[in-house]
């Protein structure tokens, strides 16, 4: 038995069976002097305890991973028809089905259909058919009814842990970094989410995205429901949400390159204090980013690391322990 095998034999006894170092060494007296320090080092390094990841760490990584998976799945977007054409087409199709195929029983059967179900198109088609025959008052009532219906569908999909593309409307009730809540539905907003500019708590928005089995909606796009009607956007509850009021920041003086000439700015507390807090940002940068920053990017620390590490193809390129770009687990 060579010294490598002797070391392995002794390690197994010491670390797995709890045998004392000296007892283990007694079997190999000729190697004792050479192997004793190595065994002591092995014991030292064996007790180096590392804690497990906290629940927060696990959750952050999980969210990041599932977001990435959703982006990969969505990499090839389905072509979208216009809403008008969609309504006409589904209404016409549904009318044909109602009159020539199954009658009202088909429509009734589709009442409980959810996005992704086979009968869901029938359900939406019937809704659009009702719009065709509704007067103005009835249209308003139907729109409210179907808005509620969309939200209920999303909630059911989340309850059933089903994955499906959804679109629904509602008020923003929470803005916490990448975690939003719209009409009581938890919505994950990533850097890839297409966002309208002035969204804040209380904004009435339309969310387009995908339900996930984790009980959340990954948002692809969030737009204001009434972008042209500023009065409709009512900041509520938290007055501090108004700190980044864009109307006060977008002043032409701030865009001047030489801040020393802007005497008029001295009276503006916001305009003078913000640059002092961050030496690297000048006034023009502030003017260009009136949106609350904490609502757009989930974790500022995560991005730099991702940039520091190469693509999978580059992983082991310079490493002396493998000659393939990524681990090849062929054994």
């Amino acid at each position: 038995m060579n010294k490598y095998e002797a070391l392995e034999t002794m390690l197994e006894k010491i670390l797995e069976q709890g045998v004392d170092i000296e007892v283990a060494l007694a079997e190999f007296p000729e190697l004792a002097e050479e192997l004793r320090p190595l065994l002591e080092s092995a014991v030292d390094v064996n007790v180096l305890a590392v804690p497990s990841a906290s629940a927060d760490v696990v959750r952050r990584g999980r969210t990041r991973l599932l977001q990435h998976a959703a982006q990969i799945r969505d990499a090839v977007p389905a072509p979208r028809a216009s809403l008008f054409n969609f309504r006409l087409a589904t209404a016409a199709l549904t009318l044909m089905l109602v009159f020539f195929v199954g009658g009202t029983s088909l429509v009734r059967a589709s009442n409980s259909a959810l996005p992704g179900d086979g009968l869901y198109a029938v359900k939406r088609g019937w809704e659009n058919t009702r719009f065709l025959f509704a007067d103005d008052d009835e249209t308003i009532r139907l729109e409210a009814e179907y808005e509620d219906e969309r939200r209920e569908e999303v909630q059911k999909l989340l309850d059933y842990s089903r994955v499906a593309r959804v679109q629904f409307e509602g008020l923003v009730t929470l803005l916490d970094r990448g975690k939003w809540e719209v009409a009581g539905v938890p919505v994950i907003v990533s850097e890839q989410t297409d966002l309208d500019g002035n969204i804040r708590i209380g904004s009435d928005v339309i969310v387009s995205g995908r339900t996930e089995s984790e009980g959340i909606v990954f948002a692809d796009k969030i737009t204001l429901n009434y972008p042209e009607d500023k009065d409709h956007i009512m900041p509520i509850e938290n007055p501090e949400e108004d700190i980044n009021e864009p109307d006060e920041i977008e002043t032409p003086e701030i865009n001047e390159e030489d801040g020393g000439d802007n005497d008029s700015e001295d009276d503006n507390e916001d305009g003078t204090q913000i640059p002092e807090e961050d030496d690297e940002s000048d006034s023009s940068d502030e003017a260009e980013t009136p949106i609350p920053e904490d609502s757009e990017t989930p974790e500022p620390e995560e991005t730099p690391e991702a940039e520091e590490t190469p693509e999978p193809d580059d992983e082991p390129s310079d490493d002396d322990e493998a000659d393939d770009d990524e681990p090849d687990d062929d054994e």
Binding site: K3, Y4, E5, L7, E8, L11, L15, P37, L38, L39, E40, S41, A42, D44, V45, N46, L48, A49, V50, P51, S52, A53, V57, V58, R60, G61, R62, R64, L65, L66, H68, A69, A70, I72, R73, S213, E214, E301, E302, E305, A306, E308, T309, P310, E311, P312, D314, E315, P316, D318, D319, D320, E321, A322, E326, P327, D328, D329, D330, E331
Partner: protein, 181 residues
């Protein structure tokens, strides 16, 4: 330990980018990858970032029809080892003298605690000075508790090579502890 059929099923679901399968794989292996990385780096924030990055790379590899063919865990740990090596190459800095707070055990006396923490600290610092292969073999064998055969599979080496490698790694660690002390 998962059976080979479970592994194959896991891999098949992963290739379809099934969100439930991805979540299950993450739940099953994240702690292993995180602890492997933390053991090597002794930096919780870096360990979190790198462990998370490993799983993103898994998805990217699957998207390109690559990635693990038999053993997801081995692939993940191997990828983590490569990223750590790359991280050391890009961001090498002198080890700090600060002793991590999580090494302090409240159940022993202050003098014992100091002695043990000091010894752990020296071992950790010394570990950072070993070669990538030496760090990996010590992390897998002593930090993660893998057997000789499991370590050999993960490092794609023969058992005899692992025996020799761990011998040299422990000898190098011993020397480094002397230098750090």
């Amino acid at each position: 330990m998962t059976s080979s059929s479970e592994r194959q099923s896991e891999l098949d679901s992963l290739r379809m980018l099934d969100p439930q399968a991805i979540g299950a794989i993450y739940d099953r292996y994240f702690q292993d990858v995180y602890r492997f990385t933390l053991y090597r780096l002794n930096d919780e924030k870096r360990a979190e970032d790198i462990a998370s990055d490993v799983f993103l790379r898994l998805l990217e590899a699957v998207k390109k029809k690559r990635g693990p063919k038999k053993n997801i865990k081995a692939w993940l740990l191997s990828t983590a080892a490569h990223i750590i090596t790359d991280h050391h190459r890009r961001h090498y800095r002198r080890p700090t003298a600060e002793m991590p707070k999580d090494l302090v055990d409240q159940s022993v006396s202050p003098s014992q605690e100091f002695e043990r923490s000091h010894q752990n600290h020296l071992a950790r610092e010394a570990l950072q000075h070993l070669t990538s292969e030496q760090q990996t073999v010590l992390t897998l064998r002593f930090g993660q508790g893998y057997s000789l055969e499991e370590t050999a599979k993960m490092m794609k080496k023969k058992s005899n090579a692992i025996k020799a490698l761990q011998f040299r790694a422990l000898a190098a660690l011993r020397r480094q502890v002397g230098e750090v002390a």
